[in-house]
């Protein structure tokens, strides 16, 4: 306990990295997070793939291949939106956020660590999903930089939208106990209408229009443009991948999510003021 030469004051980066390490440990040690967030899309991919996988939905494109793109999109939604909305609202209810507020950790470090955790977990999750697609369902990976460029921006914009909306949703949930009752139907509804569990063009047109408002449809379609053959674009709802529209809708949701998250965020419970 002797005083030595002035120890370094923690920097923003060192505190953010310390927090990130906590976030990662908590994610990978949580059975709920591992099963329902991390492994769930993989289990669904294997399940649906083995039941319906062989059916061709267009010449040379099986349902399993279509479903892979949907599951990659869903994984991003799970890990960003669903997981953050649930865990942050539980942390708020249990005063974990209040404890954090009582330490020198800057709010920006806390959020940066959350975003980095989502990015890292999503990247691993998506890599495993793609590997399953390649090994089991004969998905051909694109070999040109253009498709991987598309993959990168769709992944990043999708993660950003899911993360900011997840943080915003965590505050809108007034208590964590009602969390999964609110979140699960939202996620399921989007998955059924956005071309994840069902082929998008096979659902009623009005539901297609509803899904077009939300990010998951554009995330899934963007992923299809990467992993399905180029000529499948003709089988999409408007005969094209609509990447520009997708980018605009996703970016709009990032802005909406960011504004909501920043405006509504609170460290303490709703009944604690």
């Amino acid at each position: 306990m002797t005083a030595t030469a002035a120890p370094p004051t923690p920097t923003w980066t060192s505190m953010t990295l310390a927090r990130l390490s906590v976030e990662l440990k908590e994610f990978f040690r949580s059975r709920e997070q591992m099963v329902f967030i991390f492994l769930f899309p993989m289990m669904l991919l294997l399940l649906f793939g083995s039941v319906f996988g062989g059916e061709e939905i267009a010449p040379g494109v099986t349902f399993a291949q279509y479903f892979l793109a949907g599951m990659v999109a869903s994984g991003i939604l799970n890990t960003g939106f669903q997981s953050l909305a649930m865990t942050i609202s539980i942390d708020r209810d249990e005063d974990v956020l209040k404890r954090i507020q009582g330490t020198p950790l800057p709010a920006t470090s806390y959020f940066a660590a959350k975003v980095a955790q989502v990015l890292l977990v999503s990247a691993v999750q998506v890599a495993i999903l793609i590997a399953i697609g390649v090994v089991i369902y004969d998905v051909t990976l694109p070999s040109d930089a253009g498709h991987w460029g598309t993959f990168a921006w769709v992944f990043l914009l999708g993660t950003a939208a899911a993360t900011t909306l997840g943080i915003a949703m965590s505050t809108l949930l007034r208590n964590a106990k009602s969390g999964s009752a609110v979140i699960t139907p939202i996620v399921l509804f989007l998955q059924f209408t956005s071309g994840v569990f069902l082929v998008y063009t096979q659902i009623p047109t009005f539901l297609q229009h509803v899904a077009e408002i939300f990010p998951l449809k554009w995330l899934a379609q963007g992923m299809r443009s990467v992993f399905l053959p180029e000529d499948f674009a003709a089988a999409e709802a408007r005969g094209s991948w609509e990447l520009t529209t997708g980018a605009i809708v996703l970016a709009a949701w990032v802005v909406i999510g960011l504004v909501l998250a920043v405006k509504t965020f609170r460290w303490t419970r709703h009944d604690d003021n």
Binding site: M1, A6, P7, P8, T9, P10, S14, M15, A18, R19, S21, V22, K25, E26, R29, S30, I90, E94, D95, V96, K98, R99, Q101, G102, T103, P104, L105, P106, W267, T268, D271, D272, N273
Partner: protein
């Protein structure tokens, strides 16, 4: 260092019509161990949480280590340790990992293993909260509040749920913290804890400070002794400022042995209950219960 650690004047916190804190003045010098006592709903936690920077006040002046906690900075957080009321068993980090993480947030943190040893968690360093007892979790919270070598530490009901031995160990820990010159603001329901640890005790009721004194000073406030005995199978008690005179008289008029004769001088607890009772009788609205809002 002449500036007080905590300085409060005219502090009010209103929730609608409810005045949880109703004009509080208090100054705590550096290095003091100060205990804040009061019944549930008296405004203890509300006051402490305003000082910790978690709550906004309605009016009044507050300065903690020279800073208004409503605009707490990172540098201020470096100097203040906070132990909240209650604890969560949900964490997935081991005790050592939690303390290690916290140590990385402070410029001059204590040694992780020494701190774990100081709170008696060396053997449980690898355990997660779910497998720690309530008392062990509270000791982990103490370690987290102290790891940054704070100049001022807030301990909100730190020993609730402790067994007597754990409470004694905790007292030893606080005494060693005091030895380092740390200012301690502690809330508690245990009179003996305040008596043992605190340099001064503040008793708060209905949002106001009803007494502020050293433990000895408080005790000396009540000078009436209780005399109790049994007369013909009927329990009798008398409260008097002149117990000797009363006894002389009692002995003179009672032939033979007096059954169960006892003379008791008031404890700190008696003084406390008397003060709280007076406030509650004085209060027109006895149903004020702000602690529900806080918990």
């Amino acid at each position: 260092m002449t500036e007080p650690a905590i300085s409060i004047s005219g502090l009010h916190k209103h929730y609608g019509d409810l005045h949880a804190v109703d004009g509080l003045d208090l100054e705590i010098p550096r290095g003091e161990v100060f205990a804040l006592l009061g019944p549930n709903g008296a405004g203890k936690s509300t006051t402490v949480e305003i000082l910790e920077g978690f709550r906004k006040r309605t009016s009044g002046e507050v300065s903690v280590l020279g800073i208004d906690p409503q605009s707490a900075t990172k540098e201020w957080r470096h100097r203040v340790g906070v132990m909240l009321q209650g604890t969560s068993g949900r964490g997935l980090l081991t005790a050592r990992e939690s303390v290690q993480y916290a140590a990385r947030l402070y410029p001059n943190a204590r040694d992780v293993d020494e701190t774990l040893a100081a709170v008696g968690l060396t053997e449980k360093a690898g355990a997660k909260p779910a497998t720690l007892s309530g008392g062990q979790r509270r000791r982990l919270d103490v370690a987290l509040a102290l790891i940054g070598r704070p100049e001022l530490v807030f301990l909100d009901e730190p020993t609730t749920g402790f067994d007597p031995e754990a409470r004694r160990q905790f007292w030893g820990l606080i005494e060693s913290v005091r030895g380092d010159g740390t200012t301690v603001l502690l809330t508690t329901h245990y009179l003996d804890e305040a008596d043992h640890l605190a340099d001064r005790i503040g008793i708060i009721a209905a949002g106001r400070m009803v007494a502020l004194d050293t433990p000895a000073g408080l005790r000396s406030r009540a000078n009436a002794a209780h005399i109790s005995w049994v007369d013909d199978g009927v329990a009798r008690t008398e409260q008097t400022a002149t117990p000797s005179a009363f006894l002389r008289d009692l002995l003179a008029r009672t032939p033979g042995e007096i059954t169960s004769l006892e003379v008791r001088h008031p404890s700190l607890e008696d003084v406390y209950l008397q003060l709280i009772g007076e406030t509650q009788r004085a209060a027109a609205d006895p149903s004020a219960d702000t602690e529900e809002v806080a918990s």
